[in-house]
Symmetry: C2
Subunit: 358 residues, 2 copies
Amino acid sequence: MPELDLTASSLDLTRAICDIPSVSGDEATLADAIAAAVGVHPHLEVYRDGDTVVARTSLGRAQRVVIAGHIDTVPINANLPVRDIENDGEHYLWGRGTVDMKAGVAVQLKLAAELAAPRFDITWMWYDHEEVDADLNGLTRLARTRPDLFAGDFAILGEPSNGTVEGGCNGNLRAIVRTHGVRAHSARAWIGANAIHAAAPVLGRLAEYRPRDVAVDGLVYREGLNAVRILGGVAGNVIPDLCEVEVNFRFAPSRTPEEAEDHVRAVFDGFDVDVVDLAPGARPGLDAPVAQDFLAAVGGEPRPKYGWTDVARFSAMGVPAVNYGPGDPHLAHHDEERVAVAQIDDVERGLRAWLTSS
Amino acid sequence: MPELDLTASSLDLTRAICDIPSVSGDEATLADAIAAAVGVHPHLEVYRDGDTVVARTSLGRAQRVVIAGHIDTVPINANLPVRDIENDGEHYLWGRGTVDMKAGVAVQLKLAAELAAPRFDITWMWYDHEEVDADLNGLTRLARTRPDLFAGDFAILGEPSNGTVEGGCNGNLRAIVRTHGVRAHSARAWIGANAIHAAAPVLGRLAEYRPRDVAVDGLVYREGLNAVRILGGVAGNVIPDLCEVEVNFRFAPSRTPEEAEDHVRAVFDGFDVDVVDLAPGARPGLDAPVAQDFLAAVGGEPRPKYGWTDVARFSAMGVPAVNYGPGDPHLAHHDEERVAVAQIDDVERGLRAWLTSS
């Protein structure tokens, strides 16, 4: 088993854990190394569930914060082992997982070992299967088996956010809009009814749709309604009897999932709409005193998170949660995935400052 | 090898050749049986090319007619062997190939054997691979190796036409209309450009399109412009960068292929249009004296053929051609394919009357 030196720099720790491949489903080696490395610290009580490792302090502090990061990555595409590169005079660590999100995990591991007496009690969570179906997500499993471990006054996900605080997240709905027709030979089209032609107003409404910008607790969320897939047709000489348009609605956290569904059904009024996936958004939760204190400690202007992240899970459990981690989210999953080393240092400094200030 | 008795009734001959399965690519057994059965007749000179059998008289007549039928079928779907059924008091032969087009071939085989001294010289053609790509069609091959065999003053294809004369055929064009965009994560759709939304006007123009009815040489052809396939999308969380709409234009034989292509490009002006298949139509050719004589002999009102058939091939070679065969074309390729026995007899009588009148 590879050994992790948690006294190394966050950069070196990032290198070490990126070079232990851990594509979703294959996290065991890394989870073993993490459990072993944090297990030697007497101030941490370690709990293992599958390839999720939880390490908690129990110092009797007035408040508890949860700090979490997933340890899996999307598939490797000839972008491991990591290497140091320079781009426009900036030093980057290049390779799969550097952005999403092992640099964030490295900072967390280092601070978990170092901070024997933080100002809050801390529940550290490093979990598996974030990059795949929500059913498989380590936090989904843990919320079922040990919901008590999610207790806290505030939560931080180390998802890449360019080292700034990104509050809350948009909700996410996927639906299939279907149009129907009657099959016929295309040489005698008048006998049938063309389901693809019937989808013209569906695409028309999408093309004309003007998404809202919505202010929620002081942050502005951009919504979006988009076709992500369209499929219709039987054969080159057949009038098609079915056309399916899959639409994706990213909605501001001020809408409930039910309101989001009502909105999509209203947009496609008159059509057959089948909602196939619906995840709530998360309000930024930046008005809580502990959140304000966090913002003051790490500095910078908070921003909205557009993509869905596990902060929504904490939010749904009543724990205000934000994203805060090194790395440009636009480079997540990219073949040229790379994290600016300065951002790793910034996040380490920001978290340490907040967790140790008095 | 199964033996065919060409003195049997057309109905019994239809039974016999339907029960020799000959799905496209698997016509050898039937072609062997046909070549052997016509080969015993001294008035016929037989030529074999792959699984195409040509049998010709050479009586020195002033005119020559070509009478042709394909011997392959679409795949069997638990609808062989054939059986006799009754439907609303009408006697049908049920099973794969009965309509498309072995009843027509049976009539042709019977008359080829019987008519040792017809009023015209006759070139009979029974060919393979009509139900698949035109590249594989036995007539495509024969036109390359023995174009002289297509010489004639008139041609009859025994394609199912309900025992009436169907003149000419519509042309057939297929094209891909593509719209382009820019990929992006669907949580940040404003960074990308949605190619499926860009296809809204393509479907809009199709939905609004009003096809023409066009009179050609006294027959009215209905045109049609239809989407037959649409495809777009990368993943459930990605703004798609490409959408493809496959359109099928069935055009009256008064348009040349070039004019048909110009028309489709005009309809989709401003879009990327890629013509992938283009077959000319065939004018009905019913004004030729030999055609008028044929119409008078078989009786009934001629009608336009909407679907593309091999008559267009003869038409392009300067030989006026019509479809004339037993069977309802709507039942071709149908799992309940069945031919009205009365239509087999009618077509046999009609052809014999014309070929033997003086």
